[in-house]
Amino acid sequence: MSDTIKDATLEYAVRLGDDANVLGHRISEWVSHGPFLEEDIAYANVALDYIGRARMFYGYASELADDGRTEDDFAYMRDDRQYHNLLLMEMPRGDFAYSQVRQLLIDVYYNLLLPKLAESRDDTLAAIAAKAIKESRYHLRRSRDWVLRLGDGTEESHRRTQAALDSLWGYTHEMFEMDETERLLADKGIAVDTTRLRDEWHRQVSSILTEATLSVPEDGWAVRGGRIGYHTENLGHLLTEMQFVHRSYPGCQW
């Protein structure tokens, strides 16, 4: 592997790790706050899947970096300007509709992305994706059902779900944008060209939303910047909490 490709792959693994780490953290905030016990348990499984995924991606990043950094150095020792997750992941927990709508938007995305990543020329990324795809299929089954139920449930649930959708939609565009790093890797068959996923994503999401009696938002606005560390104000608070113990006692084993 050339140094350029290696560096780019490292950055790519960190991005995917950041996505999983930040989203896993957000979902874990639901623990003991779920609408009923069964859902509390089920949603925790999704959080566990994402935390596991973060560990795999960061683990691969530390292998590539080969400078003594561990998975936890990636998770706990970087500030928000160095985090390169998609903005959608860091948006607050919100109400249950907000979380399930976000989940749907992301789950459809991963169900398109992961099968492609599983064909990556990079064996490690391919293996992680192959494992993750099974998880994401199940996640989508859940979030799809929830959006259908909430969208076509009561007036209140419909209102909350549509509001969540309207306030999250602008953060979805960035999922389908490629910078130089990802372009380079996509050309080598390592990264997934996400620009090609957008149409199918839009088609699938729209069909679910329509069935849920929700209206598909217009594409009038788009916020971007997660991949270069230009975040919303939410991430700083999330990292403050996540990293507090780890950073208060530097260099400790836990």
Partner: protein, 318 residues
């Protein structure tokens, strides 16, 4: 046959099963007090699992490593699962989960008082797993032999899953005592704060215990509070020593004669005070539960509405 005689015959048959170590099953006749006693105990146990998610949930988002976070999350998730198994078992006695939750939220039903103590440092995650789950397991192992079938089966399932809870707690403590001075001090502090409350989890002395005698006769409980507490004291002593931490009980001494540790007296005033509502978190725990439940109300309503629409559509199609 008069109804009184018939009742006593039923009662005789019931006690016959209990004495023969046969399990009582949901459809069996049982004395009303047995049913009430079970509902009280099982629902209290279920509430404890569910409220017990909070002190650890409070630290989940601050877990110092991804590995610890994953472990802690699966442990808390297990607790939710165990709460659910127990609600399930109680529901076989003719009470609904809604009724039990209502009793919890109105303060009529209790949960383990240990969860009214605050979780302040990461070491508390270790102490809770090791001591609080440890004490719970001693009790639960004994309850696997309880006379009510669904409760017993629930306990067997829970014990099988729960052995990892105590180990992960002790494992956290091990990492801390093998770490820096600060980490070791954190571990000692957590042990100091949780040791005595963990002993209190077994309840008052047998001589003071309101429900004990009848529960033992009906074999709902299989061992007394004091016997179970002694087991826990005995097994914990060497675990503390292995960690190289100072034992919080200065009067602890091995008794050759009894084959057990003699220990100092629990501060029963504190015990009663925390139960009476003076713990750090009594109000917070209930408010948290009520808030989550209320915030989930519109979700549950949406489910019902969606289901009603779906059934109407199916009926129309048929």
């Amino acid at each position: 046959m008069s109804s009184e005689q018939k009742l006593s015959l039923q009662e005789q048959q019931f006690m016959g099963k209990i004495n023969a170590e046969e399990k009582i099953e949901p459809k069996d006749w049982m004395p009303e007090k047995y049913r009430k006693n079970l509902i009280r105990q099982i629902s209290q146990h279920a509430h404890s699992e569910v409220i017990g998610m909070q002190p650890e949930g409070n630290f989940l988002t601050r877990a110092p490593s991804l590995r610890r976070k994953a472990i802690l999350l699966s442990k808390i998730q297990d607790e939710a699962g165990h709460g659910l198994y127990l609600y399930s078992a109680a529901e076989t006695l003719g009470i609904s989960r809604d009724e039990m939750i209502e009793a919890l939220q109105s303060g009529r039903a209790k949960y383990a008082s240990i969860f009214n103590y605050p979780a302040l440092t990461w070491a508390d995650m270790g102490a809770i797993g090791w001591l609080v789950d440890g004490a719970a397991i001693v009790n639960q192992v004994s309850l696997q032999r309880t006379s009510y079938g669904p409760y017993s089966r629930g306990m067997i399932r829970i014990c099988k899953e729960e052995s990892f809870h105590q180990r992960q707690g002790y494992d956290i403590m091990l990492s801390l005592v093998n770490g820096t001075q600060e980490q070791k001090a954190m571990a000692q502090d957590a042990l100091n704060r949780f040791y005595w409350p963990a002993l209190m989890m077994f309840g008052p002395h047998d001589s003071e215990s309101a429900h004990s005698a009848k529960s033992m006769e009906w074999k709902i409980k299989r061992e007394t509070n004091d016997d179970l507490r002694q087991k826990f004291i005995d097994q914990t002593a060497s675990q503390i020593e292995f960690l190289g931490l100072e034992h919080p009980d200065k009067e602890l001494k091995w008794s050759e004669e009894r084959g057990h540790y003699d220990s100092g007296e629990i501060d029963w005033e504190e015990f009663h005070s925390v139960i009476a509502g003076n713990g750090h978190c009594n109000r917070q725990r209930l408010e948290h539960h009520i808030k989550a439940h209320q915030e989930g109300a519109w979700v549950r309503e949406a489910l019902a509405a969606y289901n009603a629409k779906k059934q109407a559509k199916q009926a129309e199609a048929a």
